[in-house]
Protein backbone atom coordinates (compact mmCIF):
# COMPACT_ATOMS: atom_id res chain seq x y z
CA UNK A 1 0.00 0.00 0.00
CA UNK A 2 1.53 3.28 -1.02
CA UNK A 3 1.09 5.83 1.70
CA UNK A 4 0.18 9.38 0.81
CA UNK A 5 0.80 10.55 4.35
CA UNK A 6 3.44 10.63 7.05
CA UNK A 7 2.50 8.28 9.91
CA UNK A 8 4.63 10.29 12.35
CA UNK A 9 2.22 13.19 12.03
CA UNK A 10 -0.68 11.05 13.25
CA UNK A 11 -0.68 10.58 17.04
CA UNK A 12 -2.51 7.64 18.57
CA UNK A 13 -3.58 7.53 22.23
CA UNK A 14 -3.60 3.96 23.58
CA UNK A 15 -5.65 3.40 26.75
CA UNK A 16 -5.14 0.04 28.45
CA UNK A 17 -5.10 -0.77 32.16
CA UNK A 18 -2.99 -3.90 31.65
CA UNK A 19 0.57 -2.52 31.71
CA UNK A 20 2.07 -5.36 29.64
CA UNK A 21 -0.62 -5.01 26.97
CA UNK A 22 -0.24 -1.23 27.00
CA UNK A 23 3.50 -1.49 26.38
CA UNK A 24 3.01 -4.02 23.62
CA UNK A 25 0.27 -2.03 21.87
CA UNK A 26 2.39 1.14 22.07
CA UNK A 27 5.42 -0.72 20.67
CA UNK A 28 3.31 -2.10 17.83
CA UNK A 29 1.98 1.33 16.85
CA UNK A 30 5.34 3.02 17.32
CA UNK A 31 7.07 0.36 15.22
CA UNK A 32 4.61 1.13 12.43
CA UNK A 33 5.80 4.73 12.52
CA UNK A 34 2.95 6.51 14.22
CA UNK A 35 3.37 8.84 17.17
CA UNK A 36 1.95 7.14 20.25
CA UNK A 37 0.86 8.11 23.74
CA UNK A 38 -0.21 5.71 26.48
CA UNK A 39 -2.63 5.93 29.40
CA UNK A 40 -3.50 3.36 32.05
CA UNK A 41 -7.02 4.66 32.67
CA UNK A 42 -9.67 7.08 31.40
CA UNK A 43 -8.65 9.99 33.66
CA UNK A 44 -5.06 9.85 32.41
CA UNK A 45 -6.36 9.64 28.83
CA UNK A 46 -8.54 12.75 29.24
CA UNK A 47 -5.61 14.68 30.74
CA UNK A 48 -3.48 13.76 27.71
CA UNK A 49 -6.22 14.81 25.29
CA UNK A 50 -6.50 18.13 27.11
CA UNK A 51 -2.75 18.81 26.97
CA UNK A 52 -1.93 17.56 23.42
CA UNK A 53 -3.55 18.74 20.25
CA UNK A 54 -1.99 16.18 17.89
CA UNK A 55 -4.02 13.15 19.03
CA UNK A 56 -6.19 11.97 16.12
CA UNK A 57 -7.12 8.45 17.24
CA UNK A 58 -8.26 7.01 20.57
CA UNK A 59 -7.50 3.28 20.80
CA UNK A 60 -9.02 2.03 24.04
CA UNK A 61 -9.67 -1.15 25.98
CA UNK A 62 -13.19 -1.51 27.46
CA UNK A 63 -12.73 -3.08 30.88
CA UNK A 64 -10.88 -0.61 33.02
CA UNK A 65 -11.03 0.23 36.70
CA UNK A 66 -11.89 3.75 37.79
CA UNK A 67 -14.82 6.06 37.23
CA UNK A 68 -15.00 5.48 33.47
CA UNK A 69 -14.64 2.34 31.39
CA UNK A 70 -13.46 2.37 27.77
CA UNK A 71 -16.95 2.72 26.29
CA UNK A 72 -17.80 5.70 28.48
CA UNK A 73 -14.42 7.20 27.61
CA UNK A 74 -15.09 6.66 23.89
CA UNK A 75 -18.41 8.50 24.15
CA UNK A 76 -16.90 11.30 26.22
CA UNK A 77 -14.10 11.78 23.67
CA UNK A 78 -16.60 11.71 20.77
CA UNK A 79 -18.55 14.50 22.50
CA UNK A 80 -15.62 16.71 23.50
CA UNK A 81 -13.23 16.08 20.57
CA UNK A 82 -15.47 15.11 17.61
CA UNK A 83 -12.56 14.85 15.11
CA UNK A 84 -10.82 12.17 17.19
CA UNK A 85 -11.40 8.72 15.66
CA UNK A 86 -12.36 5.89 18.00
CA UNK A 87 -11.08 2.32 18.04
CA UNK A 88 -12.32 0.05 20.85
CA UNK A 89 -10.93 -3.38 21.73
CA UNK A 90 -12.40 -5.85 24.19
CA UNK A 91 -12.56 -9.52 25.12
CA UNK A 92 -16.31 -8.98 25.64
CA UNK A 93 -17.25 -9.11 21.98
CA UNK A 94 -21.02 -8.74 22.22
CA UNK A 95 -21.14 -6.16 24.97
CA UNK A 96 -18.89 -3.68 23.25
CA UNK A 97 -20.07 -3.63 19.62
CA UNK A 98 -23.57 -2.28 20.16
CA UNK A 99 -22.42 0.41 22.57
CA UNK A 100 -19.81 2.02 20.33
CA UNK A 101 -20.08 5.70 19.47
CA UNK A 102 -20.96 6.52 15.86
CA UNK A 103 -18.20 5.53 13.38
CA UNK A 104 -16.36 3.71 16.16
CA UNK A 105 -14.36 0.65 15.09
CA UNK A 106 -14.35 -2.50 17.19
CA UNK A 107 -11.65 -5.19 17.57
CA UNK A 108 -11.98 -8.40 19.58
CA UNK A 109 -9.07 -9.12 21.91
CA UNK A 110 -6.63 -10.59 21.31
CA UNK A 111 -6.32 -8.89 17.90
CA UNK A 112 -3.85 -9.42 15.04
CA UNK A 113 -1.48 -6.39 15.17
CA UNK A 114 -1.63 -5.93 11.39
CA UNK A 115 -5.40 -5.36 11.52
CA UNK A 116 -4.93 -2.47 13.95
CA UNK A 117 -2.21 -0.89 11.81
CA UNK A 118 -4.44 -1.34 8.75
CA UNK A 119 -7.33 0.39 10.53
CA UNK A 120 -5.01 3.21 11.63
CA UNK A 121 -3.81 3.65 8.03
CA UNK A 122 -7.42 3.82 6.86
CA UNK A 123 -8.16 6.53 9.39
CA UNK A 124 -4.94 8.40 8.48
CA UNK A 125 -5.92 8.35 4.79
CA UNK A 126 -9.27 9.93 5.64
CA UNK A 127 -7.66 12.56 7.87
CA UNK A 128 -5.12 13.56 5.21
CA UNK A 129 -7.51 13.61 2.26
Amino acid sequence: MSKTFDRRRIAILVVEDEPLLLMDAMDMIEDAGFTVYGAGNADEALRLLESRNDIRVLFTDVDMPGSMDGLKLAHAVKDRWPPVHIIVASGHVNVARKELPENGVFFAKPYPPSSIICALDGIAERIVN
Binding site: D17, P19, L20, M28, D31, P65, G91, K109, P110
Partner: protein
Protein backbone atom coordinates in the same frame (compact mmCIF):
# COMPACT_ATOMS: atom_id res chain seq x y z
CA UNK B 1 -83.75 -33.55 64.29
CA UNK B 2 -87.52 -33.50 63.86
CA UNK B 3 -88.02 -36.23 66.48
CA UNK B 4 -85.56 -34.61 68.93
CA UNK B 5 -87.32 -31.26 68.62
CA UNK B 6 -90.73 -32.81 69.18
CA UNK B 7 -89.44 -34.80 72.19
CA UNK B 8 -87.59 -31.88 73.79
CA UNK B 9 -89.06 -30.35 76.95
CA UNK B 10 -89.53 -26.77 75.73
CA UNK B 11 -91.11 -25.73 79.04
CA UNK B 12 -87.56 -25.18 80.32
CA UNK B 13 -87.13 -22.44 77.68
CA UNK B 14 -88.76 -19.04 77.15
CA UNK B 15 -90.50 -20.59 74.09
CA UNK B 16 -92.77 -22.76 76.28
CA UNK B 17 -94.34 -26.10 75.24
CA UNK B 18 -94.65 -26.76 71.48
CA UNK B 19 -98.43 -26.90 71.80
CA UNK B 20 -98.42 -23.18 72.65
CA UNK B 21 -96.12 -22.13 69.76
CA UNK B 22 -97.62 -19.65 67.32
CA UNK B 23 -98.03 -20.61 63.69
CA UNK B 24 -95.07 -18.58 62.35
CA UNK B 25 -92.76 -20.39 64.79
CA UNK B 26 -94.03 -23.85 63.90
CA UNK B 27 -93.85 -23.14 60.19
CA UNK B 28 -90.32 -21.83 60.41
CA UNK B 29 -89.16 -24.85 62.46
CA UNK B 30 -90.92 -27.27 60.09
CA UNK B 31 -89.20 -25.65 57.06
CA UNK B 32 -85.85 -25.81 58.80
CA UNK B 33 -86.17 -29.50 59.72
CA UNK B 34 -87.01 -30.42 56.13
CA UNK B 35 -84.14 -28.45 54.63
CA UNK B 36 -80.95 -30.34 53.64
CA UNK B 37 -78.74 -27.28 54.02
CA UNK B 38 -77.32 -26.56 57.52
CA UNK B 39 -79.66 -24.11 59.24
CA UNK B 40 -79.95 -22.98 62.84
CA UNK B 41 -82.74 -20.86 64.23
CA UNK B 42 -82.24 -18.56 67.18
CA UNK B 43 -85.55 -17.33 68.49
CA UNK B 44 -87.23 -15.71 71.48
CA UNK B 45 -85.92 -13.41 74.20
CA UNK B 46 -82.86 -15.64 74.91
CA UNK B 47 -82.35 -16.56 71.26
CA UNK B 48 -83.06 -20.21 72.04
CA UNK B 49 -81.30 -22.68 69.76
CA UNK B 50 -83.13 -24.89 67.24
CA UNK B 51 -81.18 -26.59 64.42
CA UNK B 52 -81.51 -29.23 61.71
CA UNK B 53 -79.52 -32.38 60.90
CA UNK B 54 -77.23 -30.49 58.55
CA UNK B 55 -76.19 -28.11 61.29
CA UNK B 56 -75.16 -30.92 63.70
CA UNK B 57 -71.58 -31.35 62.46
CA UNK B 58 -71.06 -27.57 62.68
CA UNK B 59 -71.79 -27.74 66.39
CA UNK B 60 -69.38 -30.67 66.83
CA UNK B 61 -69.56 -32.12 70.32
CA UNK B 62 -71.97 -29.37 71.29
CA UNK B 63 -74.70 -30.87 69.06
CA UNK B 64 -75.74 -33.24 71.85
CA UNK B 65 -76.57 -30.42 74.29
CA UNK B 66 -77.21 -27.36 72.14
CA UNK B 67 -80.95 -27.81 71.53
CA UNK B 68 -83.03 -25.35 73.59
CA UNK B 69 -79.94 -23.52 74.92
CA UNK B 70 -79.50 -19.76 74.57
CA UNK B 71 -77.24 -18.63 71.69
CA UNK B 72 -74.77 -17.08 74.15
CA UNK B 73 -74.27 -20.47 75.85
CA UNK B 74 -73.85 -22.46 72.64
CA UNK B 75 -71.41 -20.06 70.97
CA UNK B 76 -69.79 -18.73 74.17
CA UNK B 77 -66.34 -19.00 72.57
CA UNK B 78 -67.11 -16.83 69.53
CA UNK B 79 -69.81 -14.60 71.01
CA UNK B 80 -67.61 -11.50 70.93
CA UNK B 81 -67.01 -12.04 67.23
CA UNK B 82 -70.61 -12.66 66.20
CA UNK B 83 -72.44 -10.30 68.58
CA UNK B 84 -72.39 -7.28 66.20
CA UNK B 85 -73.85 -9.42 63.42
CA UNK B 86 -76.51 -10.90 65.73
CA UNK B 87 -77.47 -7.38 66.75
CA UNK B 88 -77.62 -6.31 63.10
CA UNK B 89 -79.95 -9.20 62.19
CA UNK B 90 -82.15 -8.56 65.23
CA UNK B 91 -82.38 -4.90 64.18
CA UNK B 92 -83.84 -6.05 60.84
CA UNK B 93 -80.86 -5.93 58.49
CA UNK B 94 -79.82 -9.31 57.04
CA UNK B 95 -76.16 -10.32 57.41
CA UNK B 96 -74.07 -11.94 54.64
CA UNK B 97 -70.48 -13.02 55.30
CA UNK B 98 -68.09 -14.99 53.15
CA UNK B 99 -65.19 -16.95 54.62
CA UNK B 100 -65.38 -15.29 58.01
CA UNK B 101 -62.60 -16.70 60.24
CA UNK B 102 -63.56 -17.86 63.74
CA UNK B 103 -61.45 -19.70 66.31
CA UNK B 104 -63.71 -22.38 67.80
CA UNK B 105 -63.33 -24.93 70.59
CA UNK B 106 -66.33 -27.01 69.43
CA UNK B 107 -64.33 -30.26 69.62
CA UNK B 108 -62.54 -29.49 72.89
CA UNK B 109 -59.51 -27.78 71.33
CA UNK B 110 -59.09 -24.47 69.50
CA UNK B 111 -59.67 -24.77 65.77
CA UNK B 112 -59.29 -22.19 63.02
CA UNK B 113 -62.56 -22.27 61.06
CA UNK B 114 -64.05 -20.24 58.21
CA UNK B 115 -67.72 -19.64 57.52
CA UNK B 116 -69.92 -18.36 54.75
CA UNK B 117 -73.37 -17.60 56.17
CA UNK B 118 -76.42 -15.40 56.27
CA UNK B 119 -78.44 -14.23 59.26
CA UNK B 120 -82.02 -13.63 58.10
CA UNK B 121 -84.40 -11.90 60.52
CA UNK B 122 -87.61 -13.87 61.30
CA UNK B 123 -90.78 -11.93 62.14
CA UNK B 124 -94.00 -12.90 63.92
CA UNK B 125 -97.47 -12.28 62.46
CA UNK B 126 -97.34 -8.67 63.66
CA UNK B 127 -94.01 -8.10 61.88
CA UNK B 128 -91.90 -7.95 65.03
CA UNK B 129 -88.47 -9.47 64.78
CA UNK B 130 -88.42 -12.58 66.98
CA UNK B 131 -85.16 -14.21 65.98
CA UNK B 132 -83.01 -15.06 62.96
CA UNK B 133 -82.19 -17.98 60.72
CA UNK B 134 -78.50 -18.85 60.38
CA UNK B 135 -77.99 -20.50 56.97
CA UNK B 136 -74.43 -21.54 56.90
CA UNK B 137 -71.70 -23.38 55.04
CA UNK B 138 -68.42 -24.15 56.71
CA UNK B 139 -65.67 -23.18 54.22
CA UNK B 140 -62.72 -24.25 56.36
CA UNK B 141 -61.70 -27.01 53.93
CA UNK B 142 -61.80 -24.83 50.84
CA UNK B 143 -60.04 -21.93 52.59
CA UNK B 144 -57.31 -24.31 53.79
CA UNK B 145 -57.05 -25.83 50.30
CA UNK B 146 -56.75 -22.38 48.74
CA UNK B 147 -54.18 -21.40 51.34
CA UNK B 148 -52.27 -24.61 50.57
CA UNK B 149 -52.31 -23.77 46.86
CA UNK B 150 -51.05 -20.26 47.56
CA UNK B 151 -48.29 -21.63 49.81
CA UNK B 152 -47.31 -24.24 47.23
CA UNK B 153 -47.23 -21.56 44.54
CA UNK B 154 -45.06 -19.35 46.75
CA UNK B 155 -42.71 -22.26 47.40
CA UNK B 156 -42.47 -23.08 43.70
CA UNK B 157 -41.89 -19.42 42.91
CA UNK B 158 -39.06 -19.26 45.46
CA UNK B 159 -37.53 -22.42 44.00
CA UNK B 160 -37.71 -21.02 40.48
CA UNK B 161 -36.14 -17.79 41.72
CA UNK B 162 -33.32 -19.71 43.42
CA UNK B 163 -32.68 -21.64 40.22
CA UNK B 164 -32.71 -18.45 38.15
CA UNK B 165 -30.25 -16.88 40.58
CA UNK B 166 -27.97 -19.93 40.37
CA UNK B 167 -28.10 -19.81 36.56
CA UNK B 168 -27.39 -16.07 36.63
CA UNK B 169 -24.36 -16.59 38.87
CA UNK B 170 -23.14 -19.31 36.55
CA UNK B 171 -23.45 -17.00 33.56
CA UNK B 172 -21.50 -14.29 35.43
CA UNK B 173 -18.79 -16.80 36.29
CA UNK B 174 -18.62 -18.04 32.71
CA UNK B 175 -18.31 -14.49 31.41
CA UNK B 176 -15.62 -13.77 34.00
CA UNK B 177 -13.68 -16.91 33.07
CA UNK B 178 -14.04 -16.11 29.37
CA UNK B 179 -12.74 -12.62 30.04
CA UNK B 180 -9.75 -13.91 32.02
CA UNK B 181 -9.05 -16.42 29.27
CA UNK B 182 -9.05 -13.66 26.64
CA UNK B 183 -6.84 -11.58 28.87
CA UNK B 184 -4.40 -14.44 29.31
CA UNK B 185 -4.31 -14.96 25.54
CA UNK B 186 -3.66 -11.23 25.09
CA UNK B 187 -0.79 -11.45 27.57
CA UNK B 188 0.62 -14.47 25.74
CA UNK B 189 0.38 -12.52 22.49
CA UNK B 190 2.23 -9.58 24.08
CA UNK B 191 4.92 -11.90 25.48
CA UNK B 192 5.40 -13.50 22.06
CA UNK B 193 5.57 -10.21 20.20
CA UNK B 194 7.94 -8.73 22.80
CA UNK B 195 10.16 -11.82 22.56
CA UNK B 196 10.26 -11.52 18.76
CA UNK B 197 10.91 -7.79 18.88
CA UNK B 198 13.92 -8.00 21.21
CA UNK B 199 15.62 -11.26 20.22
CA UNK B 200 18.60 -11.44 17.81
CA UNK B 201 17.14 -14.38 15.88
CA UNK B 202 13.89 -16.40 15.66
CA UNK B 203 15.34 -19.40 17.51
CA UNK B 204 16.27 -17.28 20.54
CA UNK B 205 12.90 -15.50 20.30
CA UNK B 206 11.10 -18.83 20.40
CA UNK B 207 13.08 -19.97 23.45
CA UNK B 208 12.38 -16.69 25.26
CA UNK B 209 8.69 -16.86 24.41
CA UNK B 210 8.36 -20.49 25.54
CA UNK B 211 10.05 -19.74 28.87
CA UNK B 212 7.86 -16.68 29.49
CA UNK B 213 4.66 -18.53 28.59
CA UNK B 214 5.73 -21.33 30.94
CA UNK B 215 6.24 -18.75 33.70
CA UNK B 216 2.71 -17.40 33.07
CA UNK B 217 1.37 -20.95 33.16
CA UNK B 218 3.00 -21.61 36.56
CA UNK B 219 1.40 -18.45 37.93
CA UNK B 220 -1.96 -19.54 36.48
CA UNK B 221 -1.63 -22.83 38.37
CA UNK B 222 -1.42 -20.85 41.61
CA UNK B 223 -4.39 -18.69 40.59
CA UNK B 224 -6.50 -21.67 39.53
CA UNK B 225 -6.61 -22.81 43.16
CA UNK B 226 -8.48 -19.58 43.96
CA UNK B 227 -10.76 -19.47 40.86
CA UNK B 228 -8.32 -17.07 39.19
CA UNK B 229 -9.18 -14.26 41.56
CA UNK B 230 -6.09 -13.80 43.72
CA UNK B 231 -2.97 -15.48 45.03
CA UNK B 232 -0.53 -15.15 47.88
CA UNK B 233 2.78 -13.37 47.23
CA UNK B 234 4.74 -16.25 48.72
CA UNK B 235 2.91 -18.85 46.61
CA UNK B 236 3.49 -16.86 43.40
CA UNK B 237 7.14 -16.27 44.33
CA UNK B 238 7.84 -19.91 45.16
CA UNK B 239 6.07 -21.11 41.98
CA UNK B 240 8.15 -18.64 39.92
CA UNK B 241 11.57 -19.63 41.33
CA UNK B 242 10.79 -23.33 41.43
CA UNK B 243 12.68 -24.15 38.16
CA UNK B 244 15.86 -22.56 39.60
CA UNK B 245 15.58 -23.99 43.10
CA UNK B 246 18.39 -26.56 42.78
CA UNK B 247 19.50 -26.47 46.43
CA UNK B 248 18.03 -25.28 49.74
CA UNK B 249 20.39 -22.30 50.12
CA UNK B 250 19.70 -20.93 46.63
CA UNK B 251 16.80 -18.76 47.71
CA UNK B 252 15.87 -17.04 50.92
CA UNK B 253 12.20 -16.10 50.75
CA UNK B 254 10.63 -14.00 53.48
CA UNK B 255 7.60 -11.78 53.83
CA UNK B 256 4.16 -11.52 55.40
CA UNK B 257 1.08 -13.17 54.00
CA UNK B 258 -0.22 -10.79 51.30
CA UNK B 259 -3.09 -11.47 48.92
CA UNK B 260 -2.36 -10.42 45.37
CA UNK B 261 -5.07 -9.74 42.77
CA UNK B 262 -4.83 -11.97 39.65
CA UNK B 263 -3.26 -9.53 37.18
CA UNK B 264 -0.71 -8.34 39.75
CA UNK B 265 0.13 -11.98 40.41
CA UNK B 266 0.83 -12.55 36.72
CA UNK B 267 2.86 -9.33 36.52
CA UNK B 268 4.98 -10.25 39.54
CA UNK B 269 5.50 -13.78 38.18
CA UNK B 270 6.77 -12.32 34.88
CA UNK B 271 9.14 -9.99 36.75
CA UNK B 272 10.57 -12.82 38.85
CA UNK B 273 10.96 -14.91 35.71
CA UNK B 274 12.95 -12.16 33.95
CA UNK B 275 15.13 -11.59 37.02
CA UNK B 276 15.80 -15.32 37.35
CA UNK B 277 16.64 -15.93 33.68
CA UNK B 278 18.93 -12.89 33.71
CA UNK B 279 20.59 -14.20 36.88
CA UNK B 280 21.08 -17.64 35.35
CA UNK B 281 22.98 -15.96 32.50
CA UNK B 282 24.94 -13.25 34.28
CA UNK B 283 24.19 -13.21 37.99
CA UNK B 284 24.14 -15.20 41.21
CA UNK B 285 22.26 -18.14 39.70
CA UNK B 286 25.07 -18.61 37.16
CA UNK B 287 27.52 -19.84 39.81
CA UNK B 288 27.47 -22.71 42.27
CA UNK B 289 27.48 -20.60 45.46
CA UNK B 290 25.31 -17.68 44.34
CA UNK B 291 22.04 -16.99 46.13
CA UNK B 292 19.04 -14.70 45.95
CA UNK B 293 17.26 -13.07 48.86
CA UNK B 294 13.65 -12.27 48.08
CA UNK B 295 11.55 -10.34 50.52
CA UNK B 296 8.45 -8.20 50.53
CA UNK B 297 6.53 -6.13 52.97
CA UNK B 298 3.39 -4.10 53.44
CA UNK B 299 3.40 -0.58 54.82
CA UNK B 300 0.98 2.26 55.42
CA UNK B 301 -2.58 1.79 54.23
CA UNK B 302 -1.99 -0.16 51.02
CA UNK B 303 1.77 0.11 50.50
CA UNK B 304 3.64 -2.88 49.10
CA UNK B 305 7.36 -3.37 48.53
CA UNK B 306 9.24 -6.26 46.96
CA UNK B 307 12.94 -6.84 46.55
CA UNK B 308 15.29 -9.32 44.86
CA UNK B 309 18.93 -9.20 46.05
CA UNK B 310 21.62 -11.35 44.50
CA UNK B 311 24.72 -12.35 46.51
CA UNK B 312 27.74 -14.51 45.77
CA UNK B 313 27.58 -14.08 42.02
CA UNK B 314 30.22 -12.85 39.60
CA UNK B 315 31.01 -9.10 39.52
CA UNK B 316 28.04 -7.28 38.05
CA UNK B 317 28.18 -5.00 35.04
CA UNK B 318 25.29 -2.93 33.83
CA UNK B 319 24.11 -4.18 30.43
CA UNK B 320 24.92 -2.04 27.41
CA UNK B 321 21.42 -2.45 26.04
CA UNK B 322 18.13 -2.71 27.85
CA UNK B 323 15.81 -5.37 26.52
CA UNK B 324 12.34 -6.61 27.33
CA UNK B 325 13.47 -7.94 30.72
CA UNK B 326 14.55 -4.60 32.11
CA UNK B 327 11.64 -2.73 30.53
CA UNK B 328 9.30 -5.26 32.06
CA UNK B 329 10.82 -5.20 35.53
CA UNK B 330 11.51 -1.46 35.69
CA UNK B 331 8.46 -0.05 33.91
CA UNK B 332 5.71 -2.55 33.23
CA UNK B 333 5.49 -4.55 36.46
CA UNK B 334 5.57 -1.51 38.80
CA UNK B 335 2.60 -0.14 36.80
CA UNK B 336 0.59 -3.14 38.03
CA UNK B 337 1.20 -1.71 41.52
CA UNK B 338 0.84 1.97 40.50
CA UNK B 339 4.42 2.32 41.73
CA UNK B 340 8.05 2.44 40.70
CA UNK B 341 10.91 -0.04 40.46
CA UNK B 342 14.63 0.05 39.86
CA UNK B 343 17.38 -2.36 38.89
CA UNK B 344 20.63 -1.57 40.70
CA UNK B 345 23.64 -3.17 38.99
CA UNK B 346 25.89 -2.91 42.08
CA UNK B 347 29.13 -4.85 41.54
CA UNK B 348 28.48 -7.12 44.55
CA UNK B 349 25.15 -8.22 43.21
CA UNK B 350 22.12 -7.03 41.32
CA UNK B 351 19.27 -5.63 43.38
CA UNK B 352 15.74 -5.10 42.18
CA UNK B 353 13.35 -3.10 44.32
CA UNK B 354 9.70 -2.41 43.65
CA UNK B 355 7.52 -0.09 45.67
CA UNK B 356 3.83 0.50 45.04
CA UNK B 357 0.32 -0.07 46.30
CA UNK B 358 -2.19 -2.86 46.68
CA UNK B 359 -5.07 -0.36 46.54
CA UNK B 360 -8.34 -1.01 44.79
CA UNK B 361 -7.11 0.49 41.52
CA UNK B 362 -7.52 -2.82 39.77
CA UNK B 363 -10.74 -4.44 40.94
CA UNK B 364 -12.14 -7.76 39.87
CA UNK B 365 -13.92 -7.56 36.54
CA UNK B 366 -17.03 -9.60 37.23
CA UNK B 367 -19.32 -6.70 36.36
CA UNK B 368 -21.02 -5.81 33.05
Amino acid sequence: MGAEIRAFDWTTTPLGPISTWPKWLRTTVANLVECGHPIAFWVGPELTTIFNDGFGPILGKRAATALGKPLADVWFDVMDDIRPMVEQAMAGTPVWKEDLPLTMTRNGYPEETWWTFSYSPVRDDEGRIMGFLDTVTETTQSVLARRQIVETNEKLKREVELQQEARRQQRVLQRELSHRMKNTLSMVQAVVSQSLRNAPDPKVAAELAYARITALARAQDVLTSTSWAASDVEMITRASIEPYHDRDERFEVAGPSVELEAQRSLGLALAIHELATNSVKYGALSVEMGAVKIDWNIFGENGFSFSWREVGGPPVEAPSRRGFGSRLTERVVPAYFEGTAALDYAPAGLTYTLSGTLGAGRPSRAED
